[in-house]
């Protein structure tokens, strides 16, 4: 199944029958697929007039008590940035999928990982975070999309799936879980469903008095702390023992790096990989500990260097952190990454130590 | 007999009711309410015909009207 369609079906499988979206390459197939699929299951499909409007249609639908999601790509996510801020402030569970394409501006339509900062550092204004999950293949995109609905409800917070053009277009066999095994939607006693026999339900992000706003901010912070404690996800590949080089990469880029790790290990080089799956909360501790087992750290991204900042943060100067990135939709093959690793290995040992070791 | 009651704490003293009342029933008080407004008051109660114009006009729902006996509605509201 094609990644984009699989994501659409995953949402249906998770019991989310409400979808609002605006077309944009490279993810329009999700909308095309759901425009056929949702009427079959009695769901709601609506093509909005813009991504701005779509983000608020999600707001209205979620506040009215229903599971809802959208998919878009980078320029569209920029337009949803305002909405994400309001959704977070009002604590509404929604799922947003970004099938990233290159930027800035219109950029291109080929795969990229250049929206990492936008996703994890906050696209909109205010003190908020959305939970960000980055799949590395179609099956994982399906699994994470399904989980995303549960996570969104657990934290009453938007969840963003950060995929890239490759995931959207990839054809891979996928298995959908038995719907019985998927947790049912949580009740939403706070939803605006008409004020019969109860007090007013109000969904808002405005808190005019200093104390009430601070209270909301601290409440959000407590949720983010809980996410940072409980929702860190990652994959570690040959990164448990001593290594010469630790590669850190996420999404489809991590898959290519995995192949590079295999190639290098066959040649007897000690290389491992950590693949963050949750980008917010970021596996800081895991990256830090893995880095302690390596001499050098190499970050590989389809950007000119975004996640590398978090790796620097995690490694905290204890090891040298190197970066290799490609953009424009140019995807480096495993050999190219292996070359980058080899370059680090032939470097004079003393040199890297001098620049790196501080702790 | 109609009876116009003005909730002087809700009233913001905008005078729109006095303008709306063609019977010149209402006037403005010379005493402030707790919010610091001079509220409207009933000055010539017996002239009131219970037409509800004042209450319809009042933006602050400060006017309530009651009636004893029969009342002919001059308009549907």
């Amino acid at each position: 199944m094609k990644g984009n369609e699989a994501i659409g079906e995953a949402a249906v499988c998770a019991g989310c029958l409400n979808y609002f979206a605006y077309p944009i390459t490279p993810q329009s197939e999700v909308a095309e697929y759901l425009s056929r699929r949702l009427p079959e299951v009695g769901g709601t499909f609506l093509q909005g007039e813009s991504e701005v409007a779509v983000s608020y249609m999600l707001f209205g639908a979620s506040a009215a008590g229903e599971r809802v999601f959208t998919t878009s790509s980078s320029p569209g996510i920029s337009l949803m940035a305002e909405g994400m801020s309001y959704l977070s402030g009002a604590q509404l569970p929604v799922v947003i999928v970004n099938i990233v394409r290159g930027g800035p501006g219109l950029g291109g339509i080929l795969p990229a990982q250049s929206d990492y900062m936008q996703a994890v550092k906050g696209a909109g204004h205010g003190d908020y975070h959305v939970l960000v999950l980055a799949p590395a293949g179609v099956q994982e995109a399906v699994d994470l999309t399904i989980d995303a609905f549960t996570l969104a409800e657990r934290y009453s917070n938007p969840v963003l799936i950060l995929g890239d053009g490759m995931i959207g277009q990839m054809m891979e066999p996928v298995e959908f879980p038995d719907p019985e095994t998927i947790p049912p939607p949580q009740p939403r006693p706070w939803a605006t469903t008409g004020m019969k026999d109860r007090r007013q339900n109000l969904i808002r992000s405005l808190f005019l008095s200093p104390d009430s706003l601070e209270y909301n901010n601290m409440h959000l912070r407590a949720k983010y702390d809980a996410m940072e404690r409980d929702e860190v996800r990652y994959e570690s590949y040959h990164a448990e023992r001593k290594m010469d080089v630790l590669i850190v990469a996420y999404g489809t880029m991590a898959r290519i790096c995995k192949t590079a790790v295999d190639v290098l290990r066959e040649q007897g080089l000690k290389v491992g990989l950590v693949r963050p799956i949750s980008l917010y909360p970021y596996p800081m501790q895991v990256v830090h500990e893995a880095a302690q087992k390596a001499k050098d750290v190499l970050v590989v991204e389809l950007s000119t260097g975004q996640m590398v900042e978090d790796v620097h943060h995690a490694v905290a100067g204890s090891r040298p952190v190197h970066f290799f990135g490609k953009t424009g939709g140019n995807i480096p093959p495993p050999d190219r990454i292996a070359d980058e690793v080899r370059k680090l290995l032939v470097k004079k040992p003393g040199k890297s130590r001098k620049t790196g070791r501080k702790s | 007999m109609p009876c116009v009651k003005i909730d002087k704490e809700r009233c913001k003293g905008c005078e729109l009711c006095t303008f709306a009342c063609h019977q010149h029933v209402l006037g403005m008080s010379k005493e402030l309410n707790t919010k610091g407004y001079f509220p409207a008051l009933v000055e010539r109660g017996p002239r009131c015909i219970g037409c509800r114009m004042c209450a319809v006009m009042c933006p602050d729902v400060a006017i309530e009207i009651g009636i004893h006996g029969v009342q002919y509605n001059l308009y549907e509201y």
């Binding site: 007039e49 008590g65 305002e82 605006t192 469903t193 | 109609p2």
Partner: protein
């Protein structure tokens, strides 16, 4: 004694934050009375705008969602699409609806969303301190048009009711005023009709209400109602612009 006029149930007891003589309060009451009379209150969800009416949720005895500036129609669309049994209304000012929220408004109308919009046209941005709105009258002095609105530079004030009545999807579009009891009585009929159409699942409905902003117009409430009559009404003709029975726009 029999009560012949009192506060509708759909309004709370709270005293509004609106300035003295501001007709936002009248429009609130008309909406509340309509909901009560049609028996819709218990399944109504209001959408508050960003503007002076941002705190409208304190004054209505209904569930409420608070939108971002201009996006109320999109929230209402989302909620109504997933819960068609609810009654959705948005309450928006002219900056909110006719400037930043123009796209959401026109498209909700064009899709024929079964929602009701109460559009408060007071020819100015009230909340932010009296800046020029798309509906500001030619020559009207505001804090961002100190020499009066220059139509050569800023265009003519936008007539939303007419703009929306060009749309062919069946809908109910009316313009009313609320500055005299006679106009308020007519306005009430239109607002009630708008909700009735929604309750019947008929169509999109929007009622544009010419409203006052004594504070930012720099007038007394009584001068303000004269200004509505003399300046706004000739430019913004009142009346029902379109009903769903008319079929195609016009």
């Amino acid at each position: 004694m029999r009560t012949i006029f009192e506060k509708p149930d759909a309004l709370t007891d709270k005293i509004t934050h609106y300035c003295p003589g501001c007709t936002h309060g009248v429009i609130h009451r008309l909406v509340a009375e309509s909901l009560d009379e049609l028996g819709l209150r218990e399944r109504t969800v209001g959408i508050a705008p960003v503007g002076c009416a941002v705190l409208a949720y304190h004054y209505f005895n209904t569930d409420f969602q608070e939108a971002a500036h201009g996006r109320a129609a999109a929230l209402a669309t989302g909620a109504k699409r997933v819960r068609p049994d609810l009654i959705l209304f948005t309450y928006q000012g002219d900056g909110d609806l006719a400037s930043i929220g123009m796209a959401e408004t026109i498209h909700a109308c064009n899709r024929g969303e079964k929602i009701t919009t109460i559009f408060v046209n007071n020819a100015v941005y009230g909340m932010t301190g009296g800046q020029m709105a798309p509906t500001t009258m030619p020559g009207q002095v505001t804090t961002t048009s100190p020499a009066g609105r220059d139509v050569a530079e800023c265009g003519q004030p936008i007539r939303m009711a007419e703009v929306l009545s060009q749309i062919k999807t069946p809908g109910y579009i009316a313009r009313v005023a609320v500055h005299t009891p006679a106009h308020i009585v007519k306005a009430k009929r239109c607002i009630k009709q708008a909700f009735k159409y929604q309750a019947e699942g008929r169509c999109y409905s929007l009622v544009e209400c010419l409203s006052t902003c004594p504070t930012n117009w720099g007038m007394t409430p009584i001068e303000s109602i004269k200004w509505v009559e003399e300046t706004m009404m000739p430019y913004y003709p009142l009346g029902v612009k379109r009903t769903p029975d008319e079929g195609e726009g016009g």
